[in-house]
Structures are given as structure tokens and as C-alpha cells.
């Protein structure tokens, strides 16, 4: 690697790359955390809708 053209074409084709497997438990933890965050968004959507409902109710009852 270096400047363009210095490498022989395909010279690294048979390079053995060690791929340390991500510890399964850590991976599962990350996925669970991501899904937990996404589930939290469902609750947050409900909160936002509830606020809208409260404002619409106040508007209808007192400010229409």
C-alpha cells in the first residue's frame, strides 16, 4: 500500500485476514439495547400523541 500504482494488481488476493468473532454475548447485548431503544420510541410516540390530545382538548373546551 502507498501511492497509486505501487501495489501489484491483485497482490493481496490471498491475504489471510483474521476475523476475531465479536463476542456473542456482547453482540446480543448490543442488539437488545438497540431494540430496547426502538421500543422506547413507541412509548415516546404515545407521549407526543398524548400531549397533542391534551392541547386539542383544552383548545376545544376553553378556547374554541
Amino acid at each position: 500500500m502507498g501511492k497509486d500504482g505501487e501495489d501489484g494488481e491483485g497482490s493481496d488476493a490471498d491475504l489471510t485476514v483474521t476475523r476475531p468473532a465479536e463476542p456473542s454475548r456482547a453482540f446480543q447485548r448490543e442488539i437488545r439495547a438497540a431494540l430496547r431503544y426502538e421500543r422506547g420510541l413507541f412509548v415516546k410516540a404515545l407521549i407526543a400523541l398524548a400531549v397533542v390530545a391534551v392541547i386539542v382538548t383544552i383548545r376545544t373546551l376553553y378556547f374554541a
Binding site: 500500500m1 488476493a13 476475531p20 442488539i31 415516546k44 400531549v51 378556547f63
Partner: protein, 482 residues
């Protein structure tokens, strides 16, 4: 009532986010570390490229599975020296690819790199990024885990505004990116159709690049969107990974923002025309033709026309039938008010970290005038009581009833706001212009500024203006929050 369509579509899009916890791609993810080539197109990026390479080498990713290729588009600054120094510092991980003839745009630069990288079968995945963006350490591996599913052709990340120190404009962009990326792309995940792989963060499987012909589209200003559409049309899935965070420097002046957004908007017009056969035509092989996706796409693309048509309709009705105009105005603005409250609040909750910095701009996103109209629509008695007090204090009876010119102004405001937003761009280079243009943006709203830019893109495309790549100026001000 078509004027309310973009707002209703936006609310629908946000409601879809709520089911992202069920409809996502996490079930098919596995720990996966493909040999990844990172391609960075660079033209005069000496100020940022060294730091970007250093940060990439700090990624939480096996170093022997990572190679960085800086494709130097005939830079005239110190970019080659900086990259060669980094190549010496990280032997085997950094390469400098030089184009002697440059200035043809990002897609040509990328293709120069792609040709060389694809000639070697080392690469299993390819990450296309910009020279200035900063990847959070876990971001790449959170993206590659989706490529473990062979049906996935490409993955994109959540680009966050990272200019430090920022200003009012970068804070507006920060909020915009919550809505346009963290929110909109989650809903696109739910739909199964992604509109655009972020230019600064697109990870492709090797097979996908080969299916695309090993080249990026060069005839458009929106090469990212073309690539995204072609990937999905080829039957590959595109996934947005919201937990892969990438920080980018964004324009802190209206002029820079205008150039960038004009390019994007013109690109979107070109994409709409190029893929005209697929809109609103559901297809078994992809979801780009779904009704929902088409609705989101066109509501955004045609937003300026919706605003103009709303104003024209209300003014016409005002002269034809005043009560009908008044009723239509109220219905339109009550819908606007409800969607504004829902979208603003939900957006700030989606990304509370960014929300803490940008909540003022989130509130001011529609602009001060539109906010007044929203408050008036929601709570008309507050205004009426206030006007009554004012009028009795000043012994004016005429002010008790809204004068005709004020009503006409309010009806016309949606269309007028784009013209005033354009003035903000015009005023910026002049004396005290930055203060005035900032003030105007808060008055008319950042949304109107973007709509003015989209409208300008229609005119450019209609006039078949030269398709010239205008690079967004980067100064290395992007940073991750500590």
C-alpha cells in the same frame, strides 16, 4: 385542502417510526467483519483528511480488515503530502490514489477509486465517506452486522450535525437531521424502501457494487440517491442503521447551505424524472413503487408548490366566499398546528442528545410568523381578548375586527415566506447581513428557506442550467461531543 397533504404525510411518516421496534432488520444481523475498503474522495482536503484517517484507524474494527483509499481529485493543496504521511504512519492500511485531471465531481472521483479497488478481490465491503466526517468508534461494525444477511446490498448510518462551534444555522440543520434522518429513515426502514444512502456514510456489499456495474452514476447531481434506487431495483435491500453515528460539518452560512441544498434538490428532480416509471406502481421486487413511499417523496419534492397553491386557493376563496376561505384557513392551520406539535415533540424525544442543543430551533423551525398563526388558530380567544384590550385602551373600534389586508397577508404568507427566505440569502453578504439574514430565517422559518431552495431547483432544471458540482466548503470544524 391539498395544502395540508405534506403535513399529513409527515405525520403519517412519524407514526410509522413507532412500529420500527417490530419492523427492522436486527433479527437478521450477525457479528460480521468483512474486509472493508474505505473510499474517501478528496479535493483540497488537507485541513481535514489527516484527522479523518487517524479517527478511522481508531474504529472498533479489526485493523487487518480495514483499508483506507483516499482518492485525490487533483488537489492543489497539501492533501497528497498529508495522505502519504498517513500511509507511512499506517503501513498496509492507507493508500493514496491520485487523479491527475480533476474537477469532474464526486462520482467521477469515486469511480477512479472503485475501478482500482474492484480489480483486487481483497475487498468484501466498501464504505464511501466524505473527507470531513467522523465515525463514532462502534459505527462501522454496527453497519457491517447487517451485511451478514446476503439480501442486504447497502447500509447507511445516522449523520449528525457536528460543527463546533456552531451557530443558529448549524443548530437548525441539527434539528433538520433528526427529522430527515433519525426519523424519516426509520420510517423508510419500516416501509422497506430507503430514499437515499447518506453520501458520507454508505456501506456496500461487494456483490452490490458489481450488480451496479462497479460504477457510480455520473450524470446526476444526486449520485447517492441514484445508487440507492439502483441497489433496490436490483433486488437488494438497503438498511438504515440509526445506532451507527457519524458526525459531519455542515454549512454555517446561508450561501453554503443554498449551494448544497440546490444541488440536492436538483438531484432529486433528476431522480424523479429518471425513475418516472416506478412511482406509485407497487412491484414485487422492491418497495420504491409503494403508495406510501411515493407520497413521502412527492410531498417533499413538491412542498413549495403545495405552499403556493394553498395561498392562491385561500386568496381566491377570500374574494369568492369569505366564510369558506376562513373555514378552509382554520382547517389547514389546525392540521398544521397538530402535526407541528406532534412532530417537534417526537423529534426531540427521538434524539434527546441533539435535542438538548437544538430545541429552540426546533420550536422556531416554522418561523415566528407561522408560529403566531399556529397559536392564533389553536387559541383564537387569546388574540381576540388581547386585541379587544388594545383597542379599548386606544379607543379604536376598527381593530376589533381583523382588517382585510391582515387576513390577505396571512393567507398569502405560505407563498410569501419563500420569497422572504430568499431575501435572507441575498442579504447575507452585505453589511450587517449575517445578523439580518439570521433574523429573517427566524421570522420566515428554516423550512421556508429549504422550500425556496427547492423552488430555485425547479427553475434551474426547467432552464436546463449547467449541471455543475459545487463542493461544500469544509474547514475541519466537525467534532464529536465529549
Amino acid at each position: 385542502m391539498t395544502g395540508a397533504l405534506p403535513e399529513l404525510a409527515a405525520a403519517y411518516q412519524f407514526l410509522l417510526i413507532a412500529v420500527h421496534f417490530r419492523r427492522n432488520h436486527y433479527g437478521a444481523c450477525e457479528p460480521y467483519f468483512p474486509r472493508t475498503a474505505v473510499v474517501i474522495p478528496a479535493w483540497n482536503e488537507a485541513a481535514v483528511i489527516g484527522t479523518s484517517i487517524d479517527r478511522l484507524m481508531l474504529l472498533d474494527y479489526p485493523r487487518d480488515a480495514l483499508r483506507i483509499f483516499v482518492v485525490d481529485d487533483a488537489s492543489t493543496d497539501d492533501t497528497p503530502d498529508v495522505v502519504l504521511a498517513k500511509a507511512a504512519q499506517y503501513p498496509g492500511n492507507v493508500a493514496h490514489l491520485r487523479r491527475e485531471k480533476g474537477g469532474q465531481g464526486k462520482a467521477h472521483t469515486l469511480n477512479h477509486g472503485l475501478e482500482i479497488i474492484l480489480a483486487d478481490d481483497w475487498m468484501e465491503a466498501l464504505l464511501i465517506m466524505d473527507a470531513d466526517v467522523i465515525y463514532e468508534p462502534p459505527s462501522l461494525r454496527t453497519m457491517t452486522r447487517h451485511l451478514a444477511d446476503p439480501n442486504v446490498g447497502a447500509v447507511t448510518a445516522y449523520i449528525k450535525e457536528g460543527t463546533r462551534p456552531g451557530n443558529y444555522l448549524t443548530r437548525f440543520i441539527g434539528y433538520e437531521y433528526i427529522t430527515a434522518q433519525a426519523a424519516a429513515r426509520r420510517s423508510q426502514n419500516v416501509l422497506g424502501a430507503i430514499a437515499c444512502l447518506a453520501g458520507g456514510a454508505q456501506l456496500h456489499a461487494r456483490e452490490n457494487l458489481i450488480a451496479l456495474g462497479g460504477r457510480i452514476e455520473t450524470s446526476s447531481l444526486a449520485e447517492d440517491t441514484f445508487t440507492t434506487f439502483r441497489t433496490q431495483l436490483a433486488g437488494h435491500r438497503v438498511v438504515f442503521e440509526p445506532h451507527a453515528i457519524v458526525w459531519a460539518e455542515e454549512p454555517d452560512k446561508i450561501d453554503g447551505l443554498w449551494k448544497q441544498r440546490l444541488r440536492w434538490a436538483r438531484g432529486n428532480v433528476q431522480v424523479t424524472r429518471q425513475f418516472r416509471h416506478l412511482w406509485f406502481r407497487p412491484h414485487r421486487g422492491h418497495r420504491l413503487g409503494s403508495i406510501s413511499f411515493g407520497l413521502f417523496w412527492f410531498c417533499l419534492l413538491l412542498q413549495p408548490l403545495f405552499m403556493i397553491s394553498s395561498s392562491v386557493s385561500l386568496i381566491t376563496l377570500y374574494f369568492a366566499s369569505f366564510p369558506q376561505a376562513w373555514r378552509a384557513f382554520h382547517i389547514l392551520w389546525i392540521i398544521n398546528a397538530v402535526t407541528y406539535i406532534f412532530i417537534t415533540l417526537f423529534s426531540l424525544l427521538i434524539d434527546p442528545q441533539t435535542g438538548r442543543h437544538v430545541w429552540r430551533e426546533a420550536i422556531m423551525f416554522p418561523g415566528a410568523v407561522n408560529l403566531c398563526i399556529i397559536i392564533y388558530t389553536c387559541f383564537p380567544r387569546l388574540f381576540r381578548d388581547g386585541m379587544d384590550e388594545l383597542s379599548s385602551a386606544a379607543h379604536i373600534t376598527a381593530a376589533r375586527h381583523s382588517p382585510g389586508w391582515l387576513i390577505l397577508f396571512v393567507y398569502a404568507w405560505l407563498a410569501l415566506s419563500m420569497a422572504v427566505a430568499y431575501l435572507a440569502k441575498v442579504a447575507e453578504p452585505h453589511r450587517a447581513g449575517r445578523f439580518i439574514s439570521g433574523l429573517l430565517v427566524y421570522i420566515v422559518g428554516y423550512g421556508s428557506l429549504l422550500c425556496a431552495c427547492t423552488f430555485a431547483s425547479y427553475i434551474k432544471e426547467l432552464r436546463k442550467a449547467e449541471t455543475k458540482w459545487e463542493k461544500t466548503e469544509k474547514t475541519g470544524k466537525a467534532a464529536m461531543p465529549i
